[in-house]
């Protein structure tokens, strides 16, 4: 069994002092990494830990600001995907880089056609694909149209693409995000076979179960830094979760006891598919009472977005029911306007793409969803003074700066933009309010303010569903916590009976699957 940093084992990839910033965001801080040849090496970390950036540097999407990359001991410069490929690095992206209307063969050949005419290269590629099918059990019909294949098979094509180009190092970025459990198992079998052929595999994931079952070694990233590299056999999920989350001071918000009242929102067996037909929310049930904050924790991409969209009426349910105030939500009201009528407010996760209209004046963005309200004008026309005054009042109440209702929404800082959205939804006095990532891209001062307002809503008897990838926020605000992983509720806790490590495990798919 190899010991950590064994000088005898060949090092396939070495990253030395890799540093990368995007403006103010320091994505990779002096990262050191050694990956041995013929090994499955996992990289774990929360969202924003810097894993994707690091892999993008390895694959030539970005160039590091500082630091060195060595492949098989040789220092290299990787400025493009072409150069990465030439060094034997193949990447399987989280969002597949495939051309759906073309066949498997054409997709595999793209970029490695083997000459100006396809005929010769096609024959050679077919032979190669057959060989790979034999040796690694990577069976796919070369003439099948990629768009018609299942997601698992599409991923297989992605892997084949890398292998056909002679990749000795395979980087997989969150590969099981879109797979069913059995497809994931098949993938793991494949990877083990590849490893037995002395391929090096870099496996990026946040799911600790996968790390434990698949990898030989694992590196942990946190807030841009590589904090640990361990032998998988010698570590455990709690230890990893610890390293992922870190022992940091948990944000404290002054909040009193919750006094939950009756149930106002209920999800019963809610299942939601995304646009590609993949199940994103899997049989989720919970109830939400007035006067409480229910925090939904989880790593991004585990179904929270789709759940929010379904609750808000933006996305249809595949199965299950939603009950508001003791009555099932009627079909006619299963849309954003209907949900507003039912007294459900929604602060969307993405204020740029959904929550606000950036070119509009702030006072106009503040009308989004409510522009038919007679307070903005009784007759056919808007009452501009009423609109401006309304927003001015909101700006005062929510300390939005600058106090300029006529300023373009895009010109406000992130925190103030978020306050515009919050003011809009809160001031309507909804019964239930769905809040998604309320402090993403928001500065510290505004975070505090927003948190206080969310608690104030709870104290005023509203029911708050808070979806956040920030554990600090979940802990600080929630009266109850639900954890979502792979679209399922993996656990429910009270904040005082859990900690970051425990939640980390649940978020990573380890632990009991209580509802």
């Amino acid at each position: 069994m190899a010991k950590a940093a064994d000088s005898g084992a060949a090092i396939a990839i070495e990253l030395i002092g890799v540093d990368k910033s995007f403006g103010a965001v320091h994505a990779n801080k002096h990262v050191n990494l050694q990956v041995q040849r013929g090994v499955i090496h996992g990289i774990v970390g929360e969202n924003g830990a810097g894993k994707s950036t690091l892999m993008s540097i390895l694959y030539g999407f970005y160039e590091a600001d500082a630091g060195e990359i060595r492949i098989n001991g040789e220092p290299v410069r990787i400025r493009s995907s072409r150069e990465a490929i030439s060094h034997g690095i193949g990447m399987v992206h989280q969002h597949f880089m495939l051309v759906p209307p073309l066949s498997v063969l054409e997709n595999v050949m793209l970029g490695a056609e083997g000459g100006p005419l396809l005929a010769r290269g096609a024959a050679a590629t077919r032979r190669e694909l057959a060989r790979l099918a034999r040796e690694y059990a990577l069976e796919v019909d070369p003439d099948a149209i990629v768009g018609d294949l299942s997601v698992g098979l599409q991923q297989r094509v992605e892997i084949l693409k890398a292998l056909v180009r002679g990749a000795e190092i395979l980087v997989l970025d969150e590969p099981t995000a879109v797979l069913t459990p059995s497809e994931a198992d098949q993938l793991f079998d494949m990877l083990r076979v590849l490893k037995s052929q002395n391929k090096t595999i870099l496996f990026i994931t946040h799911k600790l179960r996968e790390i434990m079952s698949l990898t030989d070694r694992v590196s942990v990233m946190r807030r841009g830094e590589m904090v640990a590299t361990l032998e998988t056999a010698r570590t455990s999920p709690p230890e990893l979760a610890d390293a992922m989350v870190g022992r940091k001071v948990i944000l404290k918000v002054d909040k009193g006891e919750a006094h939950p009242g009756k149930v106002v929102l209920e999800a019963r067996g809610v299942t939601v598919r995304d646009d590609r037909g993949v199940v994103r929310v899997d049989n989720v049930s919970f109830s939400l009472r007035e006067g409480e904050i229910l925090g939904v924790a989880g790593v991004a991409g585990n179904g929270q977005s789709e759940l929010l969209e379904a609750l808000a009426g933006i996305r249809p349910l595949t199965a299950g029911e939603i009950w508001i105030d003791g009555a099932q939500r009627p079909a006619a009201l299963q849309n954003p306007q209907g949900m507003r009528k039912l007294g459900v407010g929604h602060v969307p996760e993405d204020r740029h793409r959904v929550g606000l209209v950036m070119p509009f004046e702030a006072c106009e963005s503040a009308m989004l969803g409510f522009h038919r309200d007679p307070v903005y004008g009784a007759g056919f026309f808007f009452d501009r003074s009423a609109i401006v005054a309304d927003e001015a009042a909101k700006m005062e109440a929510f300390d939005i700066r600058p106090r300029a209702p006529l300023l373009k929404t895009a010109n406000f800082s992130g925190g103030n933009q978020q306050k515009i959205v919050l003011a809009r939804e809160i001031e309507r006095n909804p019964k239930v309010i769905l809040v998604g990532q309320p402090t993403r891209g928001v500065d510290i001062g505004a975070i505090e303010f927003i948190h206080k307002r969310i608690v104030a809503m709870r104290d005023a008897g509203k029911a708050v569903l808070l979806v956040s990838v920030e554990l600090d926020e979940i802990f600080a605000l929630s009266d109850r916590i639900l954890v979502l992983c792979a679209g399922r509720v993996t656990g429910e806790r009270r904040p005082d009976e859990t900690d970051a490590q425990d939640l980390g495990l649940l978020m990573a798919g380890v632990g009991e699957r209580a509802a």
């Binding site: 995907s81 490929i85 880089m97 495939l98 073309l102 793209l110």
Partner: protein, 323 residues
């Protein structure tokens, strides 16, 4: 027998009217398959016609005219390419601008040079592409049906026409059997995949725009130097848009494009022939009804009533590397 003869003549006419459509349609196919929408085919056709006629008039040489027409059109094509690819402009707006500028410029410069409202004088024979009689035309004349067909439909076209027909299988072969064609088809559907494979999206799209320029330039050359024997302002008369309609109708595939263009050309010839004619049961056929058939058919297709017309996925969307 007479109706058959008439039919043959109309078919022959249809081919002549369809040739500029075929070339322009193939041009649009190359461009749109790479993801660059081109509604400026009309203006580019005019440019090619003007350039060809002007140089042919000065030099008296058809081939020099052809080169000039193609070069001029490629230049205009590159403007559209630059706007669409590098400036990430709205490609529809860019195409509209091209149509307007070329429409005005060709007439303006034509008028400045030759007067007469911009119409070139009748071009001498040396400046035109003559019809080519294929061998055995006279020998086959006595053969019933086939002799007629051979004389009027297969033989007797100029070299640009034969080239246009040749470009169809060439396009098909290039698109589906070459590396370039594969990459081009890929970039029209999924530029991110192409980019990740280390291939230049920009290079592919510019190549497509160039090919488009050459082909649509040839369509203009044909108009001026083979079909009409002069240049006249606005002489493309909407053919560029019919070619666009044909492209949509053919769902961006080469052989259906040929068939559709021939169909539209045939309808055009038919409408000319039937002007004022009285058919049994129908009465006097309004020429406009036949003239609008290509447009109506395209709308019906777009409305989804006869199958779906799905353009290449990245059509019209400028590529921005998302990281």
């Amino acid at each position: 027998m007479e109706t058959f003869d008439a039919f043959i003549v109309i078919l022959g006419s249809g081919i002549r009217l369809g040739v500029p459509l075929i070339l322009a349609c193939l041009a649009g196919l190359w461009s749109e398959r790479s993801g660059v929408v081109d509604i400026g085919l009309e203006g580019k056709m005019l440019t090619g016609a003007f350039g060809a006629a002007a140089v042919a008039e000065f030099t008296g040489n058809a081939w020099l005219g052809l080169i000039a027409g193609v070069v001029a059109t490629v230049a205009v094509s590159l403007v559209h390419g630059y706007a669409s690819i590098d400036q990430r402009a709205n490609q529809i707006v860019s195409g509209t601008a091209i149509n307007m500028v070329t429409d005005g410029l060709t007439a303006l410069i034509g008028n400045a040079i030759w007067g007469q409202g911009g119409r070139t004088p009748q071009l001498p024979d040396s400046a035109l592409f003559a019809s080519i009689e294929l061998p055995f035309v006279n020998a086959l004349d006595p053969v019933p049906f086939l002799g007629n067909v051979y004389r009027h439909i297969i033989s007797g076209h100029d070299i640009v026409t034969y080239a246009a027909f040749a470009f169809v299988p060439i396009t098909y072969w290039a698109l589906y059997s070459t590396r370039f064609g594969l990459r081009l088809r890929a970039v029209g559907e999924s530029p991110a995949a192409v980019d990740t494979a280390g291939i230049s999206v920009r290079g592919l799209r510019y190549s497509a725009v160039l090919i488009c320029g050459v082909l649509v330039g040839l369509s203009g050359v044909y108009l001026a130097l083979a079909q009409a024997a002069y240049f006249q302002p606005h002489m493309s008369a909407g053919k560029g848009f019919i070619a666009l309609a044909a492209l949509v109708f053919a769902k961006w595939r080469p052989w259906p494009a040929l068939a559709t263009c021939l169909l539209f050309g045939f309808l055009d010839a038919l409408s000319i022939r039937l002007q004022g004619a009285v058919l049994p049961f129908i009465g006097a056929v309004p020429v406009q009804a036949i003239q609008t058939l290509p447009y109506i058919l395209t709308v019906v297709l777009l409305a989804g009533f006869i199958g779906k017309a799905t353009p290449p996925k990245s059509s019209g969307i400028p590529y921005v590397k998302e990281r």
